[in-house]
Amino acid sequence: MRKNLKFEVVRTSMAILIALAVALIIIFLTSNEPGVALKEFVVGPIDSLRHFGNVIELAIPLMFTGLAVSIMFKAQQFNLGAEGGFFIGGVAAMVVAIKVSLPVVAHPLVAILFGGILGAIVVSIPAFMKVRWNATELVSSLMLNYIALFIGAYLLNYHFRDPNSGAIASYKIPKTAKLMVILDGTRIHAGLIIVAVMVVLCYYFLYRTKWGYEIRITGENKRFAEYSGINTAKVIILSQVFGGFIAGMGGSIEVLGLYRRFTWQTLPGYGWDGIIVAILARNNPLYVPIGAIFLAYLRIGADLMSRGSDVQSEVVAIIQGVIIVFIVAESFLSKYKHKLVYKEAKKLSVKGVK
C-alpha cells in the first residue's frame, strides 16, 4: 500500500511535468515573453496573499461540487446535475437573502439550508426517474441543468431584478445575509469553514455510517447490495438527494460569499469542474480538497498568466485538459509500475515466501 502511494506520487508528478512541458511548448510558440508568462503561471498564485486567497476562494465551490459528485459517483450514479443543483442553490440564496429578513448568522444559514434543499430537489429528480422508470440519469440530469437555469433566469428577471441596475442583476444582497470574510486582504469567506466541516462530515458519512456503507456497496455491486437486503432504490435516491444538497449549499455559499447581487445568466460550470475534482480525488471526500485546490491553482495561475503576459487565456484550457488527462490516466506509467511489482514479487519468491 505504501509502495502504491509512492508510485501515485511519482506518477502524478510526471503527469504535471508533462502537462507543464506542453504548456511550455505552447507558451514558447505563441509568446514573446515566455519567461514572464511561465513565472506568472507557476508562481503567480502564491506570490501574494491575495492571489493565494483567490486560489482558496475558487477552491470552495469546487470542493462543494467535488463532494457532491463524489457521493453520487460512489453510488455509481452518473448524475451530472451538480451543475444545476449548484445554480439553483445560488438562486435560493438570492430568494432568501432578498425576500426574508433575518439577523446575521441566521440569515445566511437559512439561505444555505434552503439552497441545499432546492439543490437536493433538482438533482434528485433524475434519481426518481431512474428508480421509477429506469431512465438514464446521465441524460436526464443534463436536461435538468438547463431547466434549472431557465427557472432561475425567470425568477431573476421577473421577480428579483433590480430595475435600477443596468444589467440583469438582483437587488443587493443585504449585509445580514453575506458570509463574512475570514482572512483580511483576501475574499476568503466563512464558506471555507463550512466546506471543511462538510469534507469531514462526508468522509464520516461515507466510510463510517450505515448509510455510507449502503451507498458504497450499492455502487460497487448493486445486485449484491440487493441480495444483502439493502434497499437500493432508496440508496440511489439518497445518494443523489445528498449530492444535490451539497451542490445546492455550494451554490448558496458562493453567492453569499463572493457576490453583491445574484447575476448568473448561464450555468456557472462548477458542476463539470466538480466531476474533474471528484475523479482526481478518486471519489474520496478526504482527497476532494486536494483536487479542488490543485484545479483552482491551475486556473488562477492561468488567469494571472493571461493577464500579466501576452499569452491568450484560452491556451489555459488546453493545458488544463492535458494535465487532467494524464493525472487520471490509469495506465500512464503502468508498464513501469508492473516492472516494480514484478521485481518485488520475484524477490519474495526467491526468499521462499509461501
Binding site: 464520516y204 463510517r208 455510517t209 450505515k210 456503507y213 449502503e214 458504497r216 456497496i217 460497487e220 455491486n221 445486485r223 449484491f224 447490495a225 440487493e226 441480495y227 444483502s228 437486503g229 439493502i230 434497499n231 503502468s334 509500475k337 508492473h338 511489482v341 514484478y342 518485488e344 514479487a345 520475484k346 519468491s349 509461501k354
Partner: protein, 517 residues
C-alpha cells in the same frame, strides 16, 4: 517425448496486483491426447491457459509448437496456430444468433455485407460433422447452457482449432450432458484433435483423460498417466495432503418445519410459467436437496423465497411468517441466509474489502452499528475471527475480495451466511467450481449447521453433492416437483438422472410426502 506437440517452459506470470499466478511452470502435450490440468482454485490453471491462448502475456518463459518457438501475443495469433479455447465462463454475445456468434470475427462476406446464409450453412454443416447439434437461427440468450457449451466448442472448431482448451466445461452440465460431451470429445480426439481439459471433478478426469498435469500454488507438480494414479493420489498432489471426499454425517433428526411453500406459481416476463404450483417444506435439522437440470425453476424458486423476485401466487412461510411481499431485509431478519449460485454477481462486491463484505447482511444491526457511526473495531475483530474460522486465505481483512481465488471468495460468502445461526439456509450451488479442499470444508460446515438446528435447502447441479449431503431430496423438472425421496442413501445417479430429464415422474401421493405441515 517423441511426439510432443506443444511445450510451455518456465512460464511465469505476475498479475498487476502482485499475485504470482504462474511460477516457472512447465507444461507439455502430445498430439492426439486428452490432457487434464487439475489443481485447487487459484492454482494458476486458467492463467496458464489464458497465456497459451494469447489473452495474457507472461513475464518469462517460452512456448514451442512442434519444436519451433512461437510468440502468442493475442487470441488471433493463437487461432492461427490452431489453438482454440472454451472458457470457464461463456464467451457469447446474448443478443446475437448462434450463427452470428459462430462467425464473429471470421464472417463470410458477400460484397460489403455479411453472407448470413453462408454463415448458417457453415454452422449447420459443422454441427452435423461433429455431431454437436445447435439451431443456427436461435438467439443465444434463448438457448440452454448445454447448447451454449456446444456453440462454444463449435466456435473453436470453426476457427480450425486442432488444440482445444476446455476450462471447466462440465461445471454447469448435467450428468447426461456431461456424458454426451465426453462422447463428443472422444470423437474429436479420434479425428486427430488434441484436448486440454480442466476440471475439479476427478472422476471425470479419470474417465476421460490420458495424462494429467497437477498444479499447486502456481507451480507444476508433475505429469502422470491417468491410469497410473488414483483419485486420492491426485487430490493429495493438489492440496498437498490427504482429503476425505466423503462427508461424515449422522442421520438427521428433523424437527418442526421452518419453511412452508404452498402452490407457488411464478410467471416470468415472457408469460411463461416457471413455477407451476409447487408445495414442499423444510424442517429444522434437515437438509432438503433440490436436484434438477438448470433452468427448471430452481432459480425462480430461490429468488422467490429470498425475496429477490416476487412470485405470482401461492404462499411462502418462514417460521409461520408469510414472506411474499416482504422485503429482502425483512426476510433475512426472519433468520434466512442465502448462498447465491453466482458469487461474483450476488455474493460479494469485488472491489470492497473482505471485512466490509462479511458484514453486508448485518451492518445495520446493533452488533455493528452504533447510534450514528459503525463500530469499526467490532467489525474488524469479527472479520478477523471469521477469516480464521473459515480459513480464508488472504493477507488481511482489508484485502479486496477480488484479489482472492474463487474458493476463498466462496468462503467469504459462506462465512457471512453461516455465522449468526440462520434458521433457514438456502444454499444454491455452494461448491460450484471450487477445489476439493474448499468443497470439503464447506460441505462439512453445512452438515454442522444442520446439526446445530438450521433448516437447509440445498440446490445443486452436482449430483454427487446433493446425494451426499441431502437427508431427503426433491427433483425439479419443468417448473414442477417430479420426485421426492425421503431417504437418499439407496438412490443411484442413474435413477435420479431419469427424473431430472423428465423421463420418469412420481405420483402426486409420493411427491406429497415432502409436505410436513
Amino acid at each position: 517425448m517423441q511426439n510432443e506437440l506443444l511445450k510451455m517452459e518456465k512460464i511465469t506470470k505476475v498479475y498487476p496486483s502482485g499475485i504470482v499466478a504462474n511460477d516457472g511452470v512447465d507444461f507439455s502435450i502430445r498430439e492426439g491426447e486428452i490432457h487434464a490440468i487439475c489443481g485447487e482454485n487459484g492454482a494458476g490453471k486458467s492463467t496458464l491457459m489464458k497465456i497459451l491462448f494469447g489473452l495474457h502475456t507472461p513475464e518469462e518463459g517460452k512456448i514451442t509448437l512442434r519444436g519451433e518457438e512461437i510468440h502468442i501475443t493475442s487470441p488471433t495469433v493463437a487461432i492461427e496456430y490452431g489453438i482454440g479455447m472454451v472458457h470457464q465462463h461463456f464467451m457469447l454475445v446474448p443478443s446475437l444468433t448462434v450463427a452470428e456468434n459462430m462467425v464473429l470475427g471470421v464472417e463470410p462476406k458477400k460484397g460489403l455485407f455479411i453472407d448470413m446464409d453462408k454463415a448458417i450453412k457453415t454452422t449447420e454443416e459443422l454441427s452435423n460433422k461433429y455431431n454437436l447439434h445447435v439451431d443456427p437461427r436461435a438467439k443465444v440468450e434463448d438457448i440452454p447452457v448445454g447448447i451454449k457449451q456446444k456453440v462454444e466448442i463449435l466456435k473453436a472448431l470453426l476457427r480450425g482449432a486442432k488444440i482445444l482448451i476446455l476450462d471447466e466445461p462440465t461445471a454447469v452440465l448435467t450428468p447426461q450432458e456431461t456424458k454426451e460431451l465426453f462422447n463428443q470429445l472422444k470423437l474429436l480426439k479420434e479425428k486427430g484433435h488434441t484436448i486440454i481439459f480442466i476440471s475439479h471433478k476427478l472422476n471425470e478426469v479419470k474417465e476421460l483423460c490420458d495424462r494429467i498435469t497437477v498444479m499447486r500454488n502456481g507451480k507444476s507438480m508433475g505429469v502422470h498417466n491417468t491410469s497410473d494414479v488414483t483419485e486420492e493420489d491426485i487430490s493429495r498432489l493438489m492440496v498437498g495432503r490427504d482429503v476425505v471426499l466423503r462427508v461424515e454425517k449422522e442421520k438427521a433428526s428433523p424437527k418442526e418445519s421452518i419453511l412452508n411453500i404452498k402452490d407457488l406459481v411464478y410467471v416470468n416476463e415472457l408469460g411463461k410459467k416457471a413455477l407451476k404450483g409447487i408445495s414442499f417444506s423444510v424442517r429444522k435439522g434437515e437438509i432438503l436437496g433440490v436436484a434438477g437440470v438448470e433452468g427448471n425453476g430452481q432459480r425462480e424458486l430461490v429468488e422467490s423465497i429470498t425475496g429477490l423476485e416476487s412470485p405470482t401466487s401461492g404462499s411462502i412461510k418462514i417460521v409461520d411468517n408469510e414472506v411474499i411481499g416482504k422485503t429482502i431485509k425483512q426476510i433475512r431478519r426472519l433468520g434466512t441466509s442465502h448462498i447465491p449460485e453466482d458469487r461474483m454477481t450476488y455474493g460479494v462486491a469485488g472491489d470492497v474489502s473482505i471485512e466490509q463484505n462479511i458484514i453486508s447482511d448485518k451492518y445495520d444491526t446493533s452488533e455493528y452499528n452504533g447510534k450514528v457511526l459503525l463500530k469499526t473495531k467490532t467489525i474488524k475483530e469479527r472479520a478477523v475471527e471469521l477469516i480464521k474460522e473459515y480459513r480464508v486465505k488472504c493477507n488481511s481483512a482489508n484485502q479486496k475480495v477480488r484479489m482472492l481465488s474463487g474458493g476463498n471468495i466462496q468462503k467469504v460468502v459462506v462465512a457471512r451466511e453461516f455465522s449468526g445461526g440462520p434458521k433457514l439456509l438456502i444454499a444454491n450451488q455452494p461448491t460450484r467450481g471450487i477445489d476439493v479442499g474448499a468443497t470439503e470444508f464447506i460441505r462439512k460446515r453445512l452438515v454442522e449447521l444442520r446439526d446445530e438446528g438450521s433448516a437447509v435447502l440445498l440446490i445443486s447441479a452436482d449430483l454427487n453433492e446433493v446425494m451426499e449431503l441431502s437427508d431427503s431430496l426433491i427433483v425439479m423438472y419443468g417448473g414442477e416437483i417430479v420426485a421426492y425421496f425421503e431417504d437418499t442413501s439407496t438412490l443411484t445417479e442413474e435413477e435420479l438422472g431419469l427424473y431430472m430429464l423428465g423421463v420418469k415422474k412420481q405420483t402426486p401421493e409420493e411427491i406429497g410426502g415432502v409436505i410436513n405441515a
